[in-house]
Amino acid sequence: MFGSLDISTSALVAQRTRMNVIAANMANMNSIEDADGNYSPFRRRIAVFASGDPSRGSDWGVHVSEILLDATPFRKVREAGSPYADAGGYVEYPNIDPTMEQINALEASRAYEANITAAEATKAMIQASLRLLA
């Protein structure tokens, strides 16, 4: 029964990581320079889930197996006066669609809640079992 709490917790960790990735995408929707100030539009990140939890060496639960970079092309915005504009006068902006991120954030937070519910159920079951002793 205690293993069930580990499973739910692994999912909470994974969903929170996914939420962090989504927040980073949203925050960097218009970032066209990297941390060093060079022209390098932010590429959208995607958290990839896989079942199992290697941090505990278990086949149960879920973990973020990798954080992928989205290979879709950057959004082109016409800014002829920008020092970063190409020959046609276009500047590349991150390939991030805020609607998409909103939907994913919603799904992540609902999945988080579902796992909280499962953890509450596990706690109720453990509590009931422990009452047998006392």
């Binding site: 499973i7 996914r18 990839v48 889930f49 519910t117 079951m125 009931a128």
Partner: protein, 140 residues
Amino acid sequence: MIADLLETGSIPVLERLVQFTGARHRLITNNIANLSTPYYRPQDLDPDSFQVAMGDAIAHRRRAGGGLALSDTHQLHFRSDGIDARPQSMDSNILFHDQNNRNLERIMQHLAENTLAHNAAIEFLKSEFDLLKTAIRERL
């Protein structure tokens, strides 16, 4: 003598039920944890086949006496110290684009039902033990 007290009546039945709901709970929480995992197929244990096995075992005990012996099903192998569960993937829902055929509402329903069944079994066990305690104390 103590063993006889604990291995007759409803105590072994409730014990098996708690073992089953415990094993199933683990699977259900795992299904919830993997709600958005690509290629994951939710797994479950069939409560109906458990109940059929339990019903048969109780009927057999009534007829022939002795302990409660459940016969194995293809998902459940009953050991003296617990249940060896071999869960199966459920193919009850459409496949989503991420190759996961989750059915969120059904999973949450199973979670609620399983928790209630577990807690009910525990309550019944507790009242069985309270009865024994009363008998041992020899006063009400």
